[in-house]
Symmetry: C2
Subunit: 189 residues, 2 copies
DNA sequence: CGTCTATTTGAATGTACTCAAAAGCGGTGG
DNA sequence: CCACCGCTTTTGAGTACATTCAAATAGACG
């Protein structure tokens, strides 16, 4: 049950058995169903979530009511509206479930305590933010320099197998094209 | 000469006169001319730059040799390829000058020492990374949900007055449109 | 099984592009 | 200081890529 998140920590920091036990004792768990909303725009993002099973998406709803997928978060990804979470401000983004999910999470307060208690976690989440920064930077570069077809191939490379699990319309939204055009793109491979 | 950078630090951390004197003693200065390259793709980004005067741009060159502007950095912005700098890996991006510039900078080693000597700076640069993260997130949201015209207006709001200082082709590249189309857009305001 | 939503397909449209030429602007040297 | 050269911007015309709209098909869920 906790092996995935412990393996995830181990990517960037080394924890003793005691440290592992401590962080595990702080984790809360929840299960959510497909299409359920985890974070709604305007609410404060109170938790940082680790996706243990399933897949989340983060998206923005524009004035016309159209949804735009920023990011998909399948197993082993972390989900948070970082500006809302760290600033305790209303969230700009929504987060919802594309599949039934099992999530582990930490509240802001608990995470702050964890930082105090063990600076390794501050390092871990700092690296996580930096990785997110790099990911977004790459995404902007893609949107500037790649065609829709190339961005689709990049999506498949970045999220192997995910296209089989989620609706085409969500992939189209992520790629900034219409579902109709994505359908035609996939014909021409 | 140092008032701009000290005011910039003061946005996020409070420094004593001694602390200010210490960081100032570590800063190096350089002047570069318009079109000169500060960081070339493939080199390791060895410094983090504060733009004291002038304007830099960060851009990617694709396989066809086309340049795509990721970010403009006028006075009071920091410039760095963060993946290259923090991982001491070859840079993916180029940084060059759009105007004659005066830059202050710190090397990776000096910055690490500064972190050790005074954790306030770790906090400062952590907030800086987070702000960069938010900026990019907003940029992706714009590219997903706004038209070229709206993105142009967003650019003018984010960089007041900058459109008068830099070439249209650089703004067009930033907006992911052609200079020809930007010219037509500006007619129709 | 039936309903609702998602995907595919076709046709027409429009947005942004390329190509080409002219005009404007800036820097440099005579 | 002016003339020239090179680069940028503007303008026009034709084109292509991606869109919208609509209808048919397929698939998911209760």
């Amino acid at each position: 049950m906790y092996q995935k998140i412990l393996a995830n920590f181990a990517l960037h920091i080394n924890l003793s058995t005691e440290e592992e036990a401590h962080v595990v004792s702080l984790l809360q768990e929840t299960r959510i169903r497909k299409n359920q909303i985890v974070l709604r725009e305007g609410e404060v993002c109170k938790h940082i979530y680790f996706v243990s099973e399933g897949c989340l998406r983060m998206y923005h709803t524009d004035k016309q009511g159209n949804e735009h997928n920023m990011l998909f978060m399948p197993e082993n990804w972390w989900a948070v509206d970082i500006a809302s979470f760290s600033g305790e401000k209303p969230a700009f983004y929504n987060i919802s479930a594309l599949e039934n999910c099992r999530l582990l999470y930490l509240s802001y307060r608990v995470l702050e305590d964890l930082y105090m208690h063990n600076p390794k976690f501050e390092r871990f989440f700092r690296i996580l933010t930096q990785n997110g920064f790099n990911l977004y930077q790459h995404r902007i570069t893609s949107s500037l320099s790649l065609t829709a077809r190339e961005r689709y191939l990049d999506f498949r490379w970045r999220y192997p197998g995910l296209e089989l699990r989620i609706a085409q319309k969500h992939i189209a939204s992520y790629l900034a094209i219409t579902p109709v055009f994505l359908s035609r793109l996939r014909q021409g491979l």
